[in-house]
């Protein structure tokens, strides 16, 4: 298991380097003046310009620039926003909010996605199954921002069950509605994945053997069908944590959540590329770590993997 962890860790290193290089390459090596890219095409003071040149070592060859940027990334020296705040501080403030939002979204999608998926899978072809299936397709088809507006309007404004926007401290209670919106599409995927997985496992030979042993129906479902079916679902959920944090842009925009997504969005609108690059780099790290955790979780759930 230790060897496995170590190997997985080693495999993630090229992904980390590759993804940061990709981001860096996109910003600094595409046609056009990098300074123009960094400034968002807006005129800027010579002081800001020279600060940017220094931060990104633009007089150096590309590879040197990249490695110096990596060094900065690792030491959390992420440069400054246009308003002069250190980017690291801004991220440090926004990150916990988004993390809270993403974890809540994850909890919601896991809870409802798995429960509905299991019931649908066990009762394949029945009314509940068909209803839930169609509903999941609709959720996937409707853009998140439309869902956001609809829920904000109905739940937040018309019914007044929850606050339509989130306060500046982003307490847990305020986040329920945005977290639901954020997790809804993934919920549909979790549901469908669980359902497929349950249907597949239900027909497995070892389930029949377990039934033949004289186990109760309940035990067959809980011990033999459920655990095996949840393996791919857990994998999906883990990888989804990273996606949720990156995908929070739209939701945070609609509900005015002071998180990472909002930060990126504002930076994009202002053309504040240094902040965008920094935030995206941090999110890549989060994503890579989430994937490592998933791999370990997977190995823990499925003993066959540990050998590899």
């Amino acid at each position: 298991m230790i060897l496995f962890t170590f190997k997985r860790f080693l495999q993630l290193i090229p992904v980390f380097f590759g993804a940061t290089l990709l981001v860096y390459f996109l910003v600094f090596a595409t046609p056009g003046d990098p300074i123009a890219a960094l400034s968002g095409g807006k005129p800027m003071s010579p002081a800001v310009e020279s600060a940017l040149r220094a931060q990104y070592n633009l007089d150096q060859p590309f590879w040197v620039q990249y490695f110096l940027y990596l060094k900065n990334l690792v030491t959390f020296d992420l440069g400054q926003t246009f308003s002069g705040q250190p980017v690291a501080d801004v991220i440090a403030r926004a990150m916990p909010v988004t993390a809270r939002l993403a974890v809540m979204a994850l909890a919601i999608e896991a809870f409802f996605g798995i429960i509905f998926g299991v019931i649908a899978g066990l009762k394949k072809g029945k009314l509940f199954d068909s209803t839930v299936l169609v509903a999941s397709l609709i959720v996937i088809a409707v853009p998140t921002f439309v869902l956001g507006f609809v829920l904000q309007f109905i739940v937040g404004v018309k019914l007044d069950w929850a606050k339509p926007t989130v306060g500046s401290t982003a307490p847990w209670g305020d986040l329920i509605l945005p977290a639901t919106v954020l997790g809804l599409v993934s919920l549909a995927y979790v549901l469908r994945l669980t359902r497929t997985s349950i249907i597949e496992n239900k027909q497995a030979d070892y389930v029949r053997t377990a039934t033949a042993k004289g186990l109760s129906r309940r035990r067959v479902v809980m011990v033999h069908i459920l655990r095996n079916s949840l393996i791919p679902v857990v994998t999906f959920l883990g990888a989804d944590l990273g996606t949720l944090m990156g995908g929070a842009i739209v939701t945070e925009g609609i509900f005015n959540v002071p998180g990472i997504g909002n930060l990126v969005y504002q930076a994009v609108l202002k053309g504040e590329t240094p902040t965008v690059v920094a935030v995206v780099s941090v999110l890549v790290v989060v994503f890579v770590i989430a994937n490592l955790v998933v791999d370990l979780l997977y190995a823990w759930l499925d003993p066959r993997i540990r050998l590899v």
């Binding site: 990709l22 088809a141 990156g246």
Partner: protein, 337 residues
């Protein structure tokens, strides 16, 4: 070659060879023979010549055409494509002749869905906006299938270093969620200043191909280990020709399913980018842009946002449902034999 972690033979085989004579019961066992006419003997392994011959695609088509899910989604898609190709046939109102005097007015004769914030006819804008969404979805899918599909097929078929590099490359792209990656690209000067349908397509394709490459790779690997591939190779068919003639046709099913569903997902992604102000330029009429510009009045006039959103969602839903129906029809488990 898999290794056996434990020996198969457990006991020492040196034990004296036993002559097994069969068991004889002390009970009297009746020898029963069924009357012949009850189960007439058929000749061994006779070909059923009554059924009409059907290829796999023909079988899939036969099961598809009776499925309500398929019929509904296919009809809707045909309608959307017709609207996208000839919007003028579906409305005589110009979507661009807007007049602020009609701003936010409700439905009236000749304007079934009312007017937008700028006083444009919503129905006409929906009809004319279909084109952008359909084009983005279609061309992104084509680009992704061509690029991701070819790379994935080659990697899966030839394996080795090509496969290793592709796997790592895909991992790297997966580390950047679609929207996040698209935001970075779309705000680059080169893209930001030349925004058009094509920049959106390129952006979505850049982040969409790894998924298609993975799907194709998996399907190709499964197909290439089949005996019929080995049989063709030993008939003298070259390695590349075997890929083209046998492996690729047999790997198409999952690719078709995933591209159909992805087409819908790309349409949503375009709308999301447009909503963020990073998608199609405002000059291009599109559902995404109309939804984005309607958000300022969402509290008071939600219907201005809802109509294009509904059109978009129904279109996307049709593609996803179509993909689902095709998946069921092509599922090898539900096929006989």
């Amino acid at each position: 070659m898999s290794e056996n972690p434990t020996p198969e033979i457990i006991e020492p085989t040196a034990s004296a060879p036993r002559v097994r004579a069969g068991k004889i019961s002390s009970r009297r066992i009746e020898h029963y023979v069924a009357p012949l006419e009850e189960t007439p003997l058929q000749s061994v392994d006779k070909v059923d010549e009554t059924a009409t011959p059907l290829s796999m695609w023909a079988q899939a088509w036969r099961s598809l055409r009776t499925q309500p899910l398929f019929i509904i989604s296919a009809a809707l898609i045909l309608l959307v494509i017709a609207v996208a190709a000839f919007p003028g046939l579906f409305t005589s109102t110009s979507p661009t002749s807007c007049s602020l005097e009609f701003a936010r007015q409700g439905p009236s004769a000749g304007h079934p869905l009312g007017f937008t914030f700028q006083g444009c006819d919503i129905y006409a804008r929906i009809m004319y906006g279909a084109q952008a969404s359909v084009l983005v979805g279609l061309f992104t899918t084509i680009a992704v299938v061509v690029f991701g599909g070819i790379l994935g097929a080659l990697a899966g078929y030839y394996g080795g270093w090509l496969d290793a590099i592709l796997a790592r490359l895909a991992d790297i792209f997966f580390a950047l969620p679609l929207i996040l990656g698209a935001i970075i690209i779309m705000q680059l000067p080169a893209f930001r200043e030349n925004r058009s349908i094509w920049t959106v397509i390129i952006t979505l394709a850049i982040f969409g191909w790894p998924q298609m490459a993975r799907i194709t790779r998996g399907a190709v690997i499964e197909a290439k280990s089949s005996d019929y591939v080995m049989a063709s190779r030993s008939l003298g068919l070259s390695k590349f020709k075997t890929l083209v003639k046998h492996v690729v046709p047999n790997s198409l099913a999952p690719v078709i399913v995933v591209s159909t569903i992805s087409l819908g997902i790309y349409i949503v992604a375009e709308a999301t980018l447009s909503f963020l102000g990073l998608g199609l330029p405002p000059s291009i009429m599109s559902w995404g842009n109309d939804i984005a510009s309607a958000q300022i009045s969402v509290r008071n006039n939600p219907e201005i946002l809802m109509w294009p959103a509904l059109a978009l969602s129904i279109t996307v839903l049709s593609f996803i449902m179509l993909g689902d129906a095709v998946r069921d029809a092509l599922d090898p488990k539900s096929r006989k034999g």
